[in-house]
Symmetry: C2
Amino acid sequence: MAKKITIYDLAQKLNISPATVSRSLNDHPAISQKTKDKVLSVAKETGYRTNKFAANLSKQKSNTIGVIVPKLNSIFMSTVLSGIEKIANNFGYNLVISQSLESQEKEKLNAKTLFDSGVDALLVSLAYETDDYDHFTTYTDRKIPLLFFDRVCDLPNCPTISIDNEAAGYDATQHLIKNGCQNIVHISGSLKRNVYAGRLEGYKKALYKNKFPVKPENIIESDLNIGQVKEFVARIKASEQKVDGIFVSNDTFAANCIKELIKEGFRIPEDIKVIGFNNDPVSEVISPSLSTIEYPGYKMGILAGQSIISHLSGSINIQSADQILIKHKLIARESTQI
Amino acid sequence: MAKKITIYDLAQKLNISPATVSRSLNDHPAISQKTKDKVLSVAKETGYRTNKFAANLSKQKSNTIGVIVPKLNSIFMSTVLSGIEKIANNFGYNLVISQSLESQEKEKLNAKTLFDSGVDALLVSLAYETDDYDHFTTYTDRKIPLLFFDRVCDLPNCPTISIDNEAAGYDATQHLIKNGCQNIVHISGSLKRNVYAGRLEGYKKALYKNKFPVKPENIIESDLNIGQVKEFVARIKASEQKVDGIFVSNDTFAANCIKELIKEGFRIPEDIKVIGFNNDPVSEVISPSLSTIEYPGYKMGILAGQSIISHLSGSINIQSADQILIKHKLIARESTQI
């Protein structure tokens, strides 16, 4: 890289004092417009770079917000990030984004790296694996705002943004029951995570309410990796009591199940009704189209961004908010209705 | 935020000199392990934060890489980002990610913000709209490494990473012709962008080579917004000469076309054969499954990350590389073969 241009270089070039250069760059009222224009023009010409690092250092602010997501290449997560970025960008914040790749170790490392780079706040959606939260105490101890979204945990003074996963799981299961299903399988992600644990609770609640038994063999905890679809469909095929409904905790897995079930000779929705989760684009494209729960990821991202920035600017104190819930919605399509 | 803890605070607390604190934190050999342990323990206890900003300032390095993508909520882009992040993370770089939302104005603003925050390098995939590149001269003038990926442009000393879009467009069209298509429509994105312009060139080349006429009415430039699928299918339906093949520049639009064409009574692939681009998950889920061109986004992200970091560490000079091409692959599925 070329040698850095400083305000002293500009001062020398313009034959004025460094203080005048500095004031001009900061649009100080005591400096004439003519001088400001001259300084700006030479600054641009020489490639002078406003030293935000130095400025931030003295203000103890970096104007960056750290984000840790489980993985970037998920349509749901990238929709949330798109909302967060929009707000951050509008308010002049930079977004430093990292992924835990579902590993607790990587999440710890990311939290430390972001802490050391001086982020003003941290937004986190937890990895599948994470079951201890000590890596966040460096933030909470220093009162650096920490907000969890989607995959959240219960830490003091850390607000969370999510949907009511239990209510959503209840709605999905109730929808299958209303459409005639009597033996419903639930395919869940890691039950360490609130999102999946909540949806399972909702599934159980709907069964209880309809006086259906909750059978352990009907609850499958998995990592929702589509490599497992074949194995899962084989299990459905082999099950003693005919399965007539499936509630899957994400759309991609659900859509691939439909495809495999059809290949195995099942008619959807006549033989088995299937409902997914998230309302990903894939849910509209699959035939029959997939009933699902709309999880408004973009809206969640916008809200997460707004909350953290309002907190940083002092206009609200999010640490007094405990849980922010956003609305989900059942979307009934062909895969559950004859 | 609480008052920042400095090495002076630690020194006072431990009753040792600030220099000893600093050396302990930097694992200096002259300091005993016992002292180091004591310093580290108090540093942790008080929430002392390694001042990377200050350290970076003196090194004129921020250890951050800026990225501008057209939009975050695209499965292809988030796959590329996932690859870039993996490499950046491995090498201790932070990734500051922003989206242009396909707007030239926003892209300019993002480039400026990232420049001002002192990124060590910039990776860009261009917005639909962009047709002047002056906003990148602040980088090139200061010799800050600038690399374009996927949607690239031709700037001096700025290497690009992409596939050979012309060859890929040729392969897609040739595949349709080989399977019997004689009147092929091409649905393209903005022709300002190399990726779409290249694919169109390949389409034309395949037609020429097979002595088919290139008809302007068969080339549709669009923004590939799925809201336009209905209108486009109506146009196919109304076309004087029967359309028997469609080459679409992305999979999401292609999959939605298939769905709409079937709704309108066309049989795929018997009446019309369809091929997409990217090999997004949607291409496997749609029925019939969608033939497509595999664009290895993750691999591109890995390569972009490795190139820029090797350049920053001085092990290669990417500015001498002009164009880095990665391999695409035709994936033939049900939508093009009877």
